[in-house]
Symmetry: C2
Subunit: 216 residues, 2 copies
């Protein structure tokens, strides 16, 4: 994650210098880096092909070689958003944590991601999307569900008992964490870092289902 961020930073500081020597794949990355840096400042309606091209220092038409127009740019931003979020929420570094703690950790990372990238988060989880885009992000949600499935598997939940654990914990915790993230981003709920942590702990304590809690 940190080396990725550094690369992104370098590319944004002088995108034109990188652009000239970049491969087509790298140019696609530069386009998304610049788009996300614009999205950090303004909402998605301002992230246009024209503006991205102008910040890189190339003509708008040039970008159409690398992304499929405005729609393709949005899709690329969404895909990158889930990539950043996944690396942000990955808890593999803390294998010693118990179940409840590791859920609190993952959920804290999710809310932190939202607070760090409010406009990107809003695009991913709130902004109206067309059917094609919805289908695309559905695959990211599926991967997420798959991770939860694997998690409960490691905790010894048998395949025949699995469904309610995966369905309920995934959905209940996501609904609550999205509500929290959304109300914090929109300033409807004004909490400091410690209060956010406390709020996450309270919610997870009640919503996360420990192995054994569902009648098998």
């Amino acid at each position: 994650m940190s080396s990725e961020s550094q690369n992104t930073q370098t590319r944004i500081n002088d995108p034109k210098a990188d652009w000239d020597s970049a491969t087509p794949e790298q140019r696609r990355e530069i386009i998304v880096d610049v788009a996300i840096s614009i999205l950090n400042e303004k909402d998605i309606s301002h992230v246009t092909i024209r503006r991205v091209a102008s910040q890189i220092g190339v003509g708008a038409m040039t970008l159409y070689t690398y992304v499929d127009g405005q729609q393709g740019l949005r899709t690329a931003i969404l895909d990158r958003g889930f990539e950043i979020m996944d690396s942000h929420c990955d808890c593999d570094e803390h294998p010693k944590m118990n179940n409840h703690e590791s859920w609190v950790e993952g959920c804290t990372n999710y809310v932190e991601f939202a607070v760090h990238y409010p406009n990107l988060y809003t695009l991913m989880f709130t902004h109206p999307l067309d059917q094609h885009e919805l289908a695309n992000i559905q695959s990211h949600f599926e991967r997420w569900r798959h991770d939860v499935h694997e998690y409960y598997s490691e905790l010894g939940i048998k395949e025949e008992d699995m469904q309610p654990y995966v369905e309920r914990t995934t959905r209940d915790c996501w609904v609550a964490m999205h509500g929290l993230a959304s109300l914090i981003i929109s300033q409807r709920l004004q909490l400091n870092e410690q209060e956010i942590r406390q709020q996450i702990e309270t919610l997870i304590e009640r919503l996360y289902i420990e192995p054994g809690q569902i009648n098998e």
Copy 2:
């Protein structure tokens, strides 16, 4: 509520006829009715003084006599939004329900309000607001907290034990219900009416705090 809706309907069908014979206070109401009917179709950026005036059939300048410009119009829409929501969520008609059921009922009404008025809901709970607007809606949240306080009072919670009941239940349930409403509106979560009801019950069962559940 139903007579109010009927009046609104009449006014929207032929706002100009009503406008001509209306008092200043009624004209203010007509402006907000029309603004909300536009908001039902399009997002808030399309709800301009010019468009509202044109739908009523008067000049834009005329509206400035009744609302304080674009900003005043937004404030009036927000105030009306909370009014509609309050009348939507009022559960006084079901005094026989037990605690848990009445929370499920109130929360179901909240989510239904969001589903019926998605753009209005988004303006109230998600859209970026300036400090003045945030302070204004804060007073609506206070009234809400006050209702929860009264509710627990009626259930026999003593004043000295009140705070954690009010704080935790209000916030936890609101966070979860906002998350649910927001994900449904944005189609990230696609649930039918029965599944929504089921989801609300699951969340409230875990998040609502019954009298006696907090150590006193």
